[in-house]
Symmetry: C2
Subunit: 291 residues, 2 copies
């Protein structure tokens, strides 16, 4: 089968063997943003045409391609949900020469009754669920997801706005004016993590990024890393208890930063395979209603 | 004497009687941003020239005019500090035909040893300190200040980045894309306040602004007011204990929103005179070292 992880800004395709092994792969910057309605079919055919010619007939898509801004909207499926529930809710996409199915996103509600949504992350989580019957998974990003897994299903999840909050603080506040671009500075990131564990609300800690700079206690080359540590540190301390084991799924560089934050907050971090989406799509594909 | 509250984006001048009563006043958008070094003297003379001609000789300035970006930098004075300490630390500004003195800002440290600064707010606080020997004052704004007052002095203070965080979320994130401009919607603001009191970190609550909109539970005309209530609610709950009496100093519209937030969090709000800066400058001027 062919597995496609199709997000807002990226496109990743995998040709999978019957056992789920990756035979071939492709990646491009062909995210759904900027694609017109006709553009989805043409883009997909361009990337997987050779595999279709070689005889593949089953194509499974996950990610923002199933959102209102995507190809066809696949309604959110409520938690708890596992591979069986998701396979039963796949949405069929008209496509000449192959069967194309779309994975729905998941929804949940928090303690206050406010809705939660994910789209694409559910497939990555399923990629580690095969051996992780119970536990906590974290998928860092603009809108980080923390999912509770039990009995082989996603029981529920919480989203944190940390990544986008960082970008907004960086680009649109006085804090960003002092910041230099560059690699993450490990010592400054660690100072931000430690600060997140101190007394005081995030809205107070943010002002400290400014005053530490004003008093020469934080260099311009350090302040972006400090702010990143501050925000990720606040997220991690709110999302997990000390002693938690957290399975990290996502881009390796960002997962490494989250691993440091989890350890600083008394947890244990396990870095998962960054091909989790392919594994999850294979798991769903095994029980999908192919004709 | 002449009292001038000179900030980043505004200029307010008062001609005061010996008892502190306001004889005349002027206001302009001549903030310090964009003024060159020679521009400060010319701007001041333009606004207060008629009062100097009428015989005034003592001019006291407070606000960002004393910052590094201002006319002359007045070093921060550490807390605790009252009118006597501030009067002893005034900085003299060369000016033909009058004595001009500059009020220093105040500094403090929080529990984590991170510096705190204010510049201009100390003078407004002194404006209510004459009758408020002990208590808690809040000065809402881009960088809100919460000051503890005791024995007629400012004992210490904490800053919250709420105002600037709101502006950044509004202008630079996906949350802002759904927002319409307009007056604050009282019901949506109250929903944001209530949300701030629920379980979950601010970074989680922020994502809810998005999902409530996605699920049709928050209108585009309501979401800016909800976000404002969420951020101010978080600030107030972090800055005060239930049962606190908080003296609000600042722009009446913003102070009214903070009063609702303080009451929603179980406190009591007292709206102070918006001419607090003039009163504070008069108090300092009484003991200033005029030649």
């Amino acid at each position: 089968m062919i597995a496609v992880d199709w997000g807002t800004s990226s496109f990743r395709a995998f040709r999978l063997a019957a056992d789920g092994g990756v035979i071939a792969r492709g990646a491009a910057a062909d995210g759904i943003l900027g694609l017109s309605q006709g553009g989805f079919e043409a883009t997909l055919r361009r990337h997987i045409g050779a595999w279709l010619d070689a005889g593949e007939r089953h194509v499974l898509l996950s990610g923002m391609v199933g959102s209102r801004q995507g190809w066809i909207e696949a309604p959110y499926l409520p938690c708890p949900a596992g591979a069986a529930e998701i396979a039963a809710a796949l949405v069929r996409v008209p496509f000449e020469g192959a069967e194309v199915l779309l994975v729905p996103g998941l929804s949940d509600h928090d303690e206050g009754g406010v809705p939660e949504v994910m789209r694409g992350e559910e497939t990555q989580i399923l990629g580690v669920i095969d051996y992780l019957a119970d536990g906590l998974a974290c998928l860092p990003g603009s809108h980080s997801k923390w999912a509770r897994i039990g009995g082989g299903r996603i029981l529920g999840f919480r989203t944190f706005f940390s990544g986008e909050a960082f970008a907004a603080m960086r680009s649109a506040t006085i804090l960003g004016r002092m910041m230099q671009d560059g690699e993450t500075d490990p010592a400054a990131f660690a100072r931000g993590l430690a600060r997140a564990g101190e007394a005081g609300h995030l809205l107070h800690h943010l002002f400290g990024v400014r005053t530490l700079g004003l008093f020469g206690q934080l260099a311009e080359s350090e302040s972006a890393s400090y702010l990143s540590g501050l925000l990720i540190g606040h997220e991690v301390r709110a999302a997990m208890e000390p002693g938690a084991r957290v399975h990290l799924i996502g881009a390796p560089a960002l997962c490494t930063l989250y691993a440091r934050a989890i350890e600083a907050a008394g947890g244990m971090a396990i870095l998962e395979d960054s091909d989790a989406a392919a594994t999850g799509l294979h798991l769903i594909g095994r029980t999908a209603p192919w004709r």
